[in-house]
Every structure is written in structure tokens, then in C-alpha cells.
Symmetry: C2
DNA sequence: GCAAAAGTGTTTTGCGTACACCCATGC
DNA sequence: GCATGGGTGTACGCAAAACACTTTTGC
């Protein structure tokens, strides 16, 4: 196919860890359902055309605010560009994808055609949006391991079992709260606030309250191997 | 500034470890010198406009082949997109950057305005191309630690001291050959060919010859922390 | 008291670094 | 022989995982 001109769109993979009826919360992604052909009924990532006077990060923030009324993005970063000439029909469109993270308790109002879907059970996705979600999830999993990126999924203050549930949902395996605490505390990623939470109805020792030390991305475990000599 | 239309270019940060008179080889980047205003005389990354019928990876390969006659790219991956509306004058241009790696012994012919520059001493760079090189270098350093990306910088077959020099140049610190061997062998990244090399003029035990097991990127040390339970 | 949940102490393990020591070659 | 570079063996350290045990609450 030969195209006359090239458009550029930004698409955001926005994750939040949410309760969805199930006992344990699940990692979920924000999608909207197409009302028009092509691919009517399929689910799309939020986003849209880049304006001539904005850079891509501003564009993503603007579009999420305007189109799905979402403003609580705690972290936003570039992922990959999808540039196959035929990735969407008609106009040749290059897509730049972003990873956005929303803290857990926030539950913004959403337009009626927009919904959170658990990453483990995605609906039929429009165009190449499925692989984009997979890619974003892989990036999140990797960064949970060597950065403080958890700050963008967790509440401002939290108890360790809550944080364990968030990590478990994002990583898709049971994380041990004991070790999670020690790893994150040793690295200076989380700190105690000093206060303790109420015990639940069924008893149990009251839990210490923590918070993330930073609210910006920081690499906390730079060298996996081949460390420079000390 | 308001722009009428938006152009899209691809730019490649191509690295090779090269001897440049100095005893130890150095990590170098391929640049060409601008003959026209704006920024005449400043050095640019190779690349150019994306065609309407090609994706970005093909475009990078094509442009490197056409413009600087470079075909021995062993590894090519996306880096970041630079989308500031005013990053270059006149037409608003979005730049997608790529990391390209050329194996060490290959010394392709270059056009006269094109040259390899050591990363440690970059010439005055055009536009925002300086930060692009820095970004690419950071990515390379990170991936040397947790992937087999060295395959794209090393010769097909090599002796361990050669590989040490390559890693040292790319990482910018002295790597210990003994430990490098053990780490890479344990991970299955390199294997012995069985043959041994000649000793140099000044004697010394003949070295074993190695090769990389794969010639495609592979993650070899996935989890820095928060490993799933075993 | 007992169950439930949180937190601490201790052991084990795996991996990477550091370093001492042995090996094979040229001259 | 001896210098030179290559390779192996081993001790050390660190960080994380695993798990037993203690603490603090509700009922």
C-alpha cells in the first residue's frame, strides 16, 4: 500500500491495580470500545493524534484528561513505536506507545464506553493494540524489580500487606511480604511513617504504615552483574 | 512556533569498538559532518526521512546502507522518540532513535564526510544529537550486564582478552577477564570452539577460542530481585 | 485462651568478585 | 631459565529467599 501522508498518534497503556469482585486485586488496563468501523466493538487503547505544537508526553496527558477524564497519572514513560505502514487501514499512522500508572485507591469517573479490563483476560483488541499491552506489562514487571516504580501503583501511605497485593497483581505471582519489606527498605525505596494502622475485624497485630521515599522513578539496583571494581 | 505539517525521521546511534592509535580500543560512534546550514560543521547522526512504504527498522537499515555504505549491523533496536516541536528549525520533525552495533573487526568503507568518533570525546553535535548518543550508550551499558548483547560487538570467534577489551571499552572500566569468562560461560552466553589461538610474539600460553552461542538478543539475567518463588 | 495478622531473627543459597596459584608458550 | 599471558581453584561477601518464631491485636 502506498500512502500520501503520514499521521502520528500516541497511545497509552494505563495500568491500575483494582479490586474487581475477586478477593485479590488484579492488574487492569484502561480501554475504550470502538463505536465505528473499522473494528467496531473491538477495544482500543486511549490516545489520539499528536498536535503540531505539543510534544508526545504532553499529548498523552492531554488526551487522557480530555477523552477519558483521567488526571491521576503518577508515572508516564515512553515504550516503543509501531511503524508498520499497514498497521491501521487508510492513512498511514505511526503510533508511539506509553506506559501510564495510576495509584490504587483512585477511582476516577470514566465515560460510558471506557472500562478497566484485567490484563489476564483481555477482550478482543483493535489493530495491534494487544501486543502493546503485552509490551507495557513486560516493562512494568522488569522495572518493579530494579526501580522504585511501585510508588506509582501504591497509595500515598499503605500497609505492607496492601503493597504485597499490588506487587503480586502486577507480577502475577505471590510475593512474600516479609522479603518485600526487607528488599525495599534496604534499598531505601520505602520508609516507615511511624504510625500504625487499625487491626482488621478479625484481629491481628496492627500493621506499620509505610510510604515510598520518592515519587519519581529511580533506579535502585543498577548492576545485575559486571559491576565495576570497588 | 506553529507548524503546518509534521515530518518523521529516523536517526541511528551506531557503535563499534575500534582501535584509534591508542593501545586499547575505544567505543566509537559513527557521525557525519553537516555541509549546509543550519549548524554547518556540526556533527550529525546518520539517518533521514521515513518513506511512506517502509517501517522504521527497514528505514534505518536502508539509510545506513545508502548514505554511509554500512551493511554489517549485527544488532538494531529502538531507543526513544524525540518530539519537542522545536527540536529542529523549520519543519516540525519527530525523531525516532535507534541503537546499532557493528562487530569489531569489520571496517567498512566510509564516505569522506563520515567518521568514527570516540564516545569519550565527541565533537560539537548538531541539534539534540548529543543526548541521543548518551542515551544509546546508557542502554548499551545496561544491556551488556543482563543480556548477550556483546555478540554484536565481538568478532565471530575471539579470544577472551579480546572480549575483555571490547567490554572494557563499552563499559568504560577495566573488566576482569577471569570473571567475565565465568559469568558469560555460566549463563551460556559464550562457548569454547575447541581450538586455541597462537601465542603472541612475546610468548604466553595460547588462549582458548570462544564464540557467542546466539547471534540474536537474549535476556540472560532476568531478575535482579523479587524473583518468583522456586 | 485462641485465632489471625504482622513483624523479627536466623539459616541457607546462589552468584559474583578478588586473589592466589598453576599452565603453556617464546626467547 | 624466565618473562609473559592464559587459565583454574578457592575464599569471601552480599543480597535475597525460606522459614521458624515472637508480638499484638479481636473475640
Amino acid at each position: 500500500m502506498v500512502h500520501i501522508s503520514t499521521a502520528h498518534e500516541v497511545l497509552a497503556v494505563v495500568f491500575q491495580v483494582r479490586r474487581l469482585g475477586t478477593p485479590k486485586p488484579q492488574l487492569s488496563v484502561l480501554l475504550w470500545q470502538r463505536a465505528q468501523e473499522p473494528q467496531r466493538g473491538a477495544w482500543s487503547l486511549p490516545g489520539g493524534s499528536l498536535r503540531h505544537d505539543e510534544d508526545m508526553t504532553s499529548s498523552v496527558r492531554r488526551q487522557l484528561a480530555e477523552k477519558v477524564d483521567l488526571r491521576e497519572i503518577a508515572h508516564l514513560e515512553q515504550l516503543a513505536v509501531f511503524s508498520d505502514p499497514d498497521r491501521v487501514p487508510a492513512t498511514r499512522t505511526i503510533a508511539s506507545t506509553f506506559l501510564g500508572l495510576v495509584p490504587s485507591p483512585a477511582t476516577p469517573e470514566l465515560p460510558p464506553d471506557t472500562r478497566w479490563h484485567p490484563v489476564s483476560a483481555l477482550p478482543p483488541m483493535a489493530f495491534d493494540h494487544g501486543p502493546m499491552v503485552t509490551h507495557a506489562h513486560a516493562r512494568l514487571v522488569a522495572k518493579l524489580s530494579y526501580t522504585n516504580i511501585g510508588f506509582a501503583l501504591a497509595p500515598k501511605e499503605f500497609v505492607l500487606s496492601t503493597l504485597r497485593d499490588i506487587y503480586s497483581a502486577a507480577l502475577d505471582y505471590q510475593v512474600d511480604a516479609t522479603n518485600l519489606q526487607r528488599v525495599l527498605q534496604r534499598r531505601g525505596v520505602i520508609t516507615r511513617t511511624g504510625t500504625t494502622a487499625q487491626s482488621g475485624r478479625s484481629g491481628g497485630r496492627p500493621a506499620a504504615v509505610f510510604r515510598f521515599a520518592d515519587s519519581q522513578l529511580r533506579v535502585t539496583d543498577e548492576f545485575a552483574a559486571l559491576r565495576p571494581p570497588s
